[in-house]
């Protein structure tokens, strides 16, 4: 049976990411109540919202760490196949799940580096063992990436020996090593001491300037305003309003968003 909305949208082929009408419930709590989003090549989309608005769940649904109960997702034009079980979506193929996840870079709030591996081992793990590429090639690329995020001298250190900011930059390098089509950032600076936030944001800014397609869940208003080309404001599991940062921050937005940024200005 083919649903009307499961037909690939005409624009999906040019989109890095398309999401249609995602819904997610945890028990009786409706966390996502129908979210749709398109990300074109090079888009940097900041997702804002107060805690509990569903931002992180939305990101986790995209790379299938959570499975949305309903809705459609395309990654680089590829539709993620779902089958219905007890009225809920379940991925049709675990192989496709792995393949999609390999194409989406995910950066976590608390870095989630593998503690028993050095920084270099963390970065080459995916390319060597998931993509099955030659080790020497992966090491060369990993060293270039670590250079780029500014922690090349830490490549033989273990995660516990690094500061939070360095760990997060290593985690970004680990994601980049997979050569992802889209990078997802789940509050990448929220677990950092204030003086370490800047070094991570600088790396993210340079990625954006290189044309990486990025979805960033964040509380960094300056990043949202200055770096992203689109801001999405989520509220109670829905997109409350969205637009270019210039419009959004100059007041052409919803009352809820104005109140939200008002809270940040104190």
């Amino acid at each position: 049976m083919v649903h009307e909305h499961s037909i690939e949208p005409a624009t999906a082929t040019v989109n890095r990411l398309s999401v249609r009408n995602i819904r997610k419930k945890f028990g009786s709590l409706e966390v996502l109540r129908g979210i749709s989003l398109e990300a074109h090549d090079g888009d940097v989309i900041s997702i804002l919202g107060s805690s509990g608005s569903g931002k992180s769940t939305f990101l986790r649904c995209i790379n299938l760490l959570e499975i949305a109960d309903d809705g459609e997702i395309w990654v680089d034009g590829e539709h993620i196949n779902m089958i219905k079980k007890h009225g809920r979506n379940v991925p049709a193929s675990s192989k496709q799940v792995d393949h999609i996840r390999a194409e989406l870079g995910m950066v976590f709030q608390s870095f989630n580096l593998w503690s028993h591996m050095t920084i270099l081992q963390n970065v080459i793990e995916g390319p060597v063992h998931v993509l099955k590429r030659p080790r020497a090639e992966c090491i060369a690329e990993a060293e270039a990436l670590l250079e780029k995020v500014g922690i090349a001298e830490k490549r033989h250190a273990y995660p516990a020996h690094l500061s939070g900011g360095q760990q997060q930059r290593a985690a970004i390098a680990r994601s980049l090593a997979m050569k992802p089509k889209v990078m997802l950032f789940d509050e990448p600076t929220s677990a950092l001491d204030p003086e370490l936030v800047g070094e991570v944001l600088r790396v993210m800014r340079s990625l954006a300037e290189e044309g990486m397609t990025m979805l960033v869940v964040t509380h960094e208003m300056n990043f949202a305003r200055d770096v992203s080309n689109r801001v999405v404001f989520m509220r109670e599991g829905q997109i409350d309003c969205t637009g270019a940062p210039a419009e959004m921050f100059s007041g052409e937005s919803s009352p809820a968003f104005r109140q939200f940024i008002g809270n940040f200005r104190g």
């Binding site: 799940v97 989630n112 503690s115 995916g126 273990y158 680990r174």
Partner: protein, 232 residues
């Protein structure tokens, strides 16, 4: 002190060390493999598998190893379908029975030790692995297994030392390992003190070597938990 006798005793007992080591290594090897299977069942979502594993662990940890060994050695022969099966040529061998019961028993303990290691693997590190497209056996082999093993290692080395000592029970099913040979010497010489002290010394030396090896392994596998090496 009769040094000549002690030297002679040591020589006789040392000749039985290969048997003790064979019991030890084979039961640790097969017990370890079985433990992996049991722990896989124990953490499975299927209630039949996990309950079977729970039952297995309860039975083999809850009853004396000596009784388990007697049941395997004296008990199995009572059943015609075993006595007349192709397994019988193996199962009537005391050595096979001893290894079998040692392995079955250590598997119960080891499964619980491995499970405690599994529980210590941070969910976030598993999620990070999933997020780059790892799953199934690759995820277990590269991330979950190595982290769990590191957590389980201290408790596992205790189990290994226990196993060295447990091989002494095999003497009671007529396997001529160190303790069995010691008892035979005593029945010939009636010099309990010297012979058993020699036997105890041999077990101490074996365990000392094994514990050193385990400590070295632990040291090598826990670099990430020590302070960063100084660069200067």
């Amino acid at each position: 002190m009769d040094f000549v006798f002690i030297l002679q005793t040591m020589k006789t007992l040392l000749a039985a060390v290969p048997m003790t080591l064979a019991l030890f290594f084979l039961s640790i090897f097969f017990g370890g493999l079985l433990a992996l299977l049991i722990v896989w069942m124990r953490v499975a979502k299927n209630p039949i598998l996990s309950n079977f594993a729970k039952g297995y662990i309860f039975v083999f940890r809850g009853s004396p190893l000596l009784i388990q060994m007697f049941l395997v050695f004296y008990g199995l022969g009572q059943f015609g379908f075993i006595r007349y099966s192709f397994l019988w040529p193996f199962l009537r061998e005391p050595f096979v029975c001893a290894v079998l019961s040692l392995a079955l028993c250590t598997a119960g303990y080891t499964a619980e030790i491995f499970r405690s290691g599994l529980r210590a693997v941070p969910v976030k590190e598993i999620e990070a692995a999933r997020s780059i497209g790892m799953s199934g056996f690759l995820l277990v082999r590269r991330i979950i297994g190595p982290i769990a093993f590191r957590h389980a290692l201290p408790a596992y080395s205790t189990e290994i030392v226990m196993m060295v000592k447990s091989t002494a029970l095999a003497s009671l099913v007529t396997v001529w390992e160190v303790t069995g040979v010691a008892q035979r010497l005593i029945s010939q010489t009636y010099r309990t003190m010297e012979v058993f002290l020699c036997a105890a010394a041999i077990y101490l030396i074996l365990n000392f070597v094994i514990l050193q090896a385990m400590a070295l392994l632990e040291h090598r596998l826990s670099q990430h938990r020590r302070a960063a090496p100084r660069l200067s």
